[in-house]
Subunit: 226 residues, 2 copies
DNA sequence: ACAAAAGTGTTGTAGATACACCCATGT
DNA sequence: ACATGGGTGTATCTACAACACTTTTGT
């Protein structure tokens, strides 16, 4: 890397959700100073000639091997003192991963990356806690007015899981009946014929997000809002 | 500036509003290649050790002399081909200016900066049109759920002007009675005793945005939404 | 008196909230 | 039969949209 001038990096706040464990985020253990051995968001320097999204995907692949299902730019953190070494500006992204892509592939740099539940976070390097909080806030806001929740679930999911996902992201309880009514009224979910039984209790239907219908309704000027 | 590596710049989309002329934005004429003589957003390279906001303020002062009333980060544009010279990543900001700070001070670099009405825009350099459109969209969205409209008006303003401001930003007509009812119901505007007469017609009251009250209501968990 | 702009109130309607019981299965 | 989780309907309330006339001034 260059010695003088401003460097540009990207960092990714990657959320995953599992019905049993709730929301988690992906962290890596740093191999070098500063904060060697500490936990940090996956990320790294942007290479000359590559786009920001390419940099994020590349770093995520190198460091963790996870496959993103959704990626969106979050905010650019530019405080010249945010990195003790020198002036490094970081463009933060936030991403979502489906449970079936949770396995961390120990390919390249992946030897030490790990999912952490949000209530059991370790201390984070740099200003990464601030970035993480910013991302949580964005996720909360975004899930209420765009149907990105589905990107955190398997393609076929149970309504109850969707409901729990919303509750854990929004941090409040939701009336089951009203939620279902509202969500189904958008007409962007397909109910499948399959039923799932686990343990006692009535079997539940599987649902599927129908992106075509969503785009269609969007063109017709409707507005998703929970 | 350095010759290799990625450079970092900031660009600002600065909106101003005048009741008679509607929304305008601030552009500068480029002195150097590329796009020499063309119109562009004010901005420039970030200096080592300065924050992004400092860079924006500095460049705006150098190039146009206007005083911002509101500043917010917009998005970071990182396509390596967005600048024909080399890889330059730009953090775009959007800002709002009050009519009483409209005068462009011909101090330093200001010799060629100018307000343009949105329907009379010249061709813009680089990807600046894209950035501008992004900013317009953000302004539209933001003005509907945060009370930033006032930052575009004099501290004391007429209700009619506020109404026209909203209509020109949202690009649709608004029912005068409902708008007033809703806006006043938030309890964040103070009606002053002064009345203003211009020409024929009933004199209008002056209003003032009360930030204290807004912060108070915000803490109480209310939500501004037009 | 007339033209121009400011100010104001009511009613209907759609969407949100609150709320409790039945259904299908496993043990 | 009972425990467990899934599925559903209704009444009330609140917030928004639609809509037209009166008031105050200048000319």
């Amino acid at each position: 890397m260059e010695k003088a001038g401003i460097s540009l990096s990207v960092d990714a706040v990657v959320f995953g959700y599992q019905p049993e464990q709730g929301l988690s985020i992906l962290l890596i253990r740093r191999k070098y100073e500063p904060f060697k051995g500490g936990w940090a968001l996956p990320g790294g320097f942007v290479l000359e000639g590559e786009s920001l999204e390419e940099a994020v995907s590349r770093e995520l692949k190198e460091e963790t091997g996870v496959q993103l299902n959704y990626l969106e730019q979050l905010y650019t953190f530019g405080d010249p003192k945010r990195d003790p070494r020198r002036h490094i500006v970081s463009v933060a992204y936030f991403g979502l991963v489906r449970p079936d892509h949770f396995e961390i592939k120990a390919d390249t740099d992946a030897e030490d990356s790990q999912w952490f539940q949000l209530d059991e976070l370790p201390k984070l390097a740099f200003d990464h806690l601030k970035i993480l909080e910013y991302a949580r806030e964005r996720l909360r806001a975004k899930i209420s007015y765009e149907p990105i929740g589905f990107e955190l679930l398997e393609p076929k999911f149970l309504f109850g899981d969707l409901e729990n996902l919303y509750m854990s992201i929004l941090g409040r309880s939701i009336d089951r009946r009203n939620f279902r009514k509202k969500m189904l009224a958008f007409g962007i979910l397909d109910e499948l014929d399959q039923k799932v039984k686990n343990g006692p209790g009535r079997p539940a239907s599987l649902f599927q997000f129908n992106q075509e219908k969503y785009f269609q309704h969007q063109r017709d000027g409707f507005h998703f809002e929970i």
